[in-house]
């Protein structure tokens, strides 16, 4: 029931997700941050069960930190996404993680930003815009209409705000607050949508 969606431009990427933790018929909290910052230029928005979401993203973050200590540099977005996919796929037939992810990051080497869509079975695909969960039904068309090649960061934020408005209008589940994280060449910024 978690909503997460995002949009990727040439040198920026924004991921957004709702902040509610729901349990049976009520909401336990309204301010849960479901977008984890993996390292200086990478973020991952996860949707799914809280325990799997936290355990998986935490494990990835710590393993990437370890890789950084061992090799001396942060891996690029593609390598990070492939590493995360491998871990998810390996666990799939033993103790699967019920998480769907959007991985976004900025590559310092060529100055471009990339976004990857990954589902709980280990399907990985590079995308320019994407969504997970029920939100996808509402938000994919809005993103399709508002995306243009080489759009600016402000246009991207406006597009996501339209997505949030659509969810608040039509989605049966009440999700009052949304958090968005933006990755650019300056690192990660947080904003409320």
């Amino acid at each position: 029931m978690d909503s997460c969606f995002g949009i990727c431009g040439k040198d920026w990427v924004i991921l957004a997700s709702d902040m509610a933790v729901n349990r049976s018929i009520f909401t336990l909290k309204h301010d849960e941050d479901k977008i984890m910052q993996l390292n200086k230029f990478k973020i991952v928005a996860a949707s799914g069960e809280q325990t799997d979401r936290y355990q998986y993203c935490n494990m990835m973050m710590r393993n990437l930190q370890l890789m950084e200590f061992r090799t001396g540099f942060e891996p690029d977005v593609e390598s990070t996404a492939q590493f995360m996919r491998t871990e998810l796929a390996t666990a799939l037939r033993k103790a699967p993680f019920q998480v769907n992810l959007l991985i976004g990051g900025f590559d310092e080497l060529d100055g471009t930003a990339k976004m990857y869509w990954m589902d709980y079975l280990g399907t990985l695909q590079q995308v320019t815009k994407g969504a997970h969960g029920y939100a996808g039904y509402f938000v994919n068309s809005v993103l399709d209409n508002n995306y243009k090649k080489d759009m600016t960061l402000e246009e991207g934020i406006a597009a996501l705000q339209k997505c949030v408005l659509e969810l608040k209008t039509r989605f049966i589940i009440n999700q009052p607050t949304f958090i968005a994280k933006i990755v650019t060449k300056d690192g990660v910024q947080v904003m409320q949508l």
Binding site: S24, I25, L28, K29, E32, E49, Q50, Q55
Partner: protein, 265 residues
């Protein structure tokens, strides 16, 4: 056990009669079982009738905890029910892990009390190894890692680990799914919706100590009034910088008459 779910273990193997017919038979059988004064032990050949299949209300209890300017207030009821039978009205649902940490109990009594005692041991080991008291976040993480590793094996617990550490008052909700949530206000159990009603309307961060304790007591009482699986005595604890302290233990019937008299005036 608290909030026991007597589930039919063998129904997945029985293909002889259609499922709806069997369920109808089980529902007809229910009234006679209710009249039986002895405790209902789960019969593996019977279905689990009705409610639990539709609403996953596992924890037959009401517990709550919230943070305010003066610390943390924890309040619980004390009823243990096995189906329609009240097994006990005097269960201690707050587990004293160490003088600065409290854990609440909802779900399986054995699971909660065993693992919270184990957590107490791990917290003591931490103190001996690190020469400082464990933080509430670390303690709750130890417990949530345990529950995550036992995920799917049938543990049933919904607990709140509350305490005061160097970062101030903290409450973490940990449950048997492996979830661990940090927030300023939680209520767990079958009566939690009723408790939330009173708690959400009366809660402010800048409550005084007396107001906070009274709010907690009222919230649990509201739940015991409406929820069949909550009742007994309402116990209220307070946690401040010096540690936890048990403030009051009042029977819910006494509270009913007290609030009724207040309304009359």
């Amino acid at each position: 056990a608290i909030g026991a779910r007597g589930c039919g273990m063998l129904d997945c193997l029985d293909y002889s009669v259609s499922r709806s017919e069997r369920e109808a038979q089980a529902h007809e059988a229910l009234p006679m079982e209710l009249l039986n004064p002895a405790p209902l032990l789960p019969n593996p050949h019977e279905r689990c009738p009705g409610m639990e299949q539709h609403i996953r209300m596992v924890h037959g209890t009401t517990t709550l905890a919230f943070k305010y300017q003066g610390g943390v207030v924890v309040a619980v009821d004390s009823r243990a029910s096995a189906g329609a039978y009240i097994a006990s009205q005097t269960v201690k649902k707050v587990i004293e892990i160490n003088p600065f940490l409290l854990g609440t109990m909802a779900g399986g009594a054995a699971d909660c009390s065993f693992w919270e005692r184990y957590l107490g041991m791990r917290c003591r080991m931490f103190e001996l190894n690190q020469k400082k008291r464990i933080s509430v976040g670390a303690a709750s993480k130890i417990l949530s890692n345990i529950t995550h590793s036992y995920k799917g094996y049938g543990l049933s617990m919904g607990t709140m680990i509350c305490g005061w550490d160097e970062t101030g008052p903290q409450i973490y909700y940990v449950d048997s799914d492996g979830d661990r949530l940090h927030h300023h206000l939680f209520s767990v159990g079958s009566g939690s919706t009723f408790a939330y009603g009173v708690l959400d309307t009366g809660y402010r961060y800048d409550l005084t100590k007396d107001e906070a304790l009274s709010l907690a007591q009222r919230s649990i009482f509201a739940a015991t009034y409406r929820d069949a699986y909550s009742g007994g005595t309402v116990r209220v604890y307070h946690i401040d910088e010096q540690g936890w302290k048990r403030i009051s233990e009042t029977d819910s019937m006494e509270l009913y008459y007290k609030f009724k008299d207040e309304k009359m005036q």
